[in-house]
Symmetry: C2
Subunit: 345 residues, 2 copies
DNA sequence: CGGTCAGATGATATCGATAACAGTTTCCAG
DNA sequence: CTGGAAACTGTTATCGATATCATCTGACCG
């Protein structure tokens, strides 16, 4: 193999095509005034040399990097993956590149990521949730590009928001349970100190129980989030030991709901006859499980799509001064067999 | 709000600290000869101004962008998510940033992504699988940075490989089925023309059946990959209509296996007494399902970890000339209740 | 006490593109 | 024909950092 053959630059292309570098730069972009003859001559030259534009240099010069930075809590989570898909699908048209990082539900890690990302001079930054370290919040406030918080409704938004009320979502489930006649209702979630969205659901759950005048003691806190199917099953065992009289159970996510449900089935309990189960997130799994699991749909993919559109607006139109700051999603209950009384089916 | 306050640059920091920009540059990197006094003075100045390094400029100048480009078929796939996690965990220490793109199992989209990525001047590029368009392959060969193909064992590798034989993995399952006494064995996968890994599994499956002298007709090809739980269920219905005598079924992934299994259960068939089921990928779901599903573990996370280590070697040590090119992973069968005769349990 | 050398700092020249403006050609209305 | 707008192309000056080499201290040694 030869010495590093050194990638050709725009100057090389310009020489070969017999034009100036500036013309090459223009020829390789759409919507620029370059004659068709010149443009194709330049394209040919670029092809011949195997030229590939250097967006690092382009970004430095034009001050537009084409990066959108995004932090999500976890990559192994169908909900956030859906959000990401919605986001990239919309952004693809604009040739924006997502810089993705995951925080593992840790605000310190989020701070680290945000700092890394800001060095890349993204044109916008999207973070999940409202909980940030002080320093992280300060960086976001001062970074000079649009900031979006998603999957939550922060009390003090940094910039734009695309999210929903986790508490309200939990209330939907409680109301549904109560409507079905269940009274002894429990909750399984992760360690409240880390996953703020899970924590908000827990609070909303408790508030809703209290509003109905129901007992709020049936709570299990598992390990650090995200809690898995296995931890759902384990928590279910604890729940059944401690409160064998439980009639209905809400889990912080569909995964733990599935784990809890299979544990019940292993113990010979029938769903929903012996225990009703509800999850969160509208995973495929909840629909395909036997029986299908009642869940809350927050249209994860839509969150991503809307966030992308917000960014496009903010970046393109100059005038549209912060048209709207809060883009609120309405969680929807999907009532399924896992919580429906026979008479209702 | 004021005019865009303009982010401070290294020059601003240098002025405030009373040193030259070059010294600031050095002070902000570890392992550089700057006196402790100067360094802390500079740190203070940087903090005061809220200075954030511009890695775009740094990358242009140093010709080290810190990017590792990675393409995977799908983001909504626990296996690839695991690979990604392994990758980033190892890379975190080196301060490398992953540029992630997903191809939707489409080589044309892969080509588009690779081209986009090469513009960012990544220091290495990782692609999933061995199937590429001609142009994409050419770009990868000529890009001048290490290329890794993963999740496969290409016949003509472009550079390094971290993968396993999908055919061999499928053979493991067939051998297991045969060992358990099953003879009428079927396969459910996606449209063979797109997902090459799924296709390789299908071929390996057929070859193994033939090696055992068994009938190879029980094949269902579903929609374009990735095939979901729902499509697994739908394919199972077709399978049962066409070949009601089927004794054992392998699915191209655990998700479709779960869908197929629940469909059987809905139809009143018992697993494994009436039909044995095997999946692929060692998803959590396969372990938690009722009954747990036999599957193939290819240690997805390990693939990512190894790929990251290969990159670290290639980038750090100058001498270690392409030490090894193929890093082969051994798929492992995880035999579970969904395919175990009662006597074996 | 002169010489050598490592450590600390600075000056200068890029890295590869694009912005902004300047110049040239084309083309057509008047 | 001619003025002038529109279309095309070129020149120059950055963008914000780092590589490289030069310079300047002192410390240490025989």
């Amino acid at each position: 193999m030869t010495k590093n053959p050194k990638q050709p630059t725009m100057i090389d292309v310009a020489h070969l095509a017999g034009v100036s570098p500036m013309t090459v730069s223009r020829a390789l972009k759409p919507n620029t005034s370059v004659s068709e003859a010149t443009r194709s001559k330049i394209r040919a030259a670029a092809d011949e040399l195997g030229y590939v534009l250097d967006s690092t240099a382009a970004g430095l010069s034009s001050r537009r990097t084409g990066f959108i930075a995004v932090t999500i809590p976890s990559i192994n989570n169908a909900n956030f993956a859906d959000t990401l898909r919605g986001l990239t699908q919309v952004l693809r048209a604009t040739n924006m590149q997502v810089l993705l990082g995951y925080t593992d539900y840790d605000v310190a890690e989020e701070e680290r990521l945000v700092e890394q990302f800001l060095r890349r001079r993204p044109e916008a930054i999207i973070v999940t949730g409202h909980a940030h370290t002080d320093r992280c919040r300060r960086m976001l406030e001062k970074c000079g590009v649009p900031v979006i918080e998603m999957w939550d409704l922060p009390e003090n938004p940094i910039g734009q928001v695309v999210g929903f009320s986790n508490a309200q979502a939990a209330k939907l489930m409680v109301d549904h349970f109560v409507g079905q006649g269940y009274r002894k209702i429990g909750f399984i979630g992760g360690d409240p100190s880390r996953d703020t969205r899970g924590q908000d659901r827990r609070q909303g759950f408790l508030a809703a129980l209290e509003a109905h005048g129901l007992d709020t003691s049936r709570m299990i806190a598992a390990q650090r989030p995200p809690i898995t199917m296995r931890e759902g099953a384990h928590s279910m065992r604890l729940m059944l030991e401690k409160w064998p009289d439980i009639e209905a159970l809400m889990c912080v996510s569909d995964l733990s709901a599935f784990g809890a449900m299979t544990e019940c089935q292993r113990q010979g309990l029938r769903i929903p006859d012996d225990i009703a189960i509800g999850g969160f997130g509208a995973y495929d799994l909840a629909e395909q499980a036997l029986p299908p699991i009642t869940t809350i749909d927050v249209s994860s993919e839509n969150i991503g799509r809307i966030a992308a559109q917000v960014i496009q607006n903010l970046l393109s139109s100059e005038a549209t001064k912060t048209s709207e700051t809060i883009h609120r999603i309405e969680p929807k209950l999907l009532a399924r067999d896992s919580s429906l009384r026979h008479t209702e089916r």
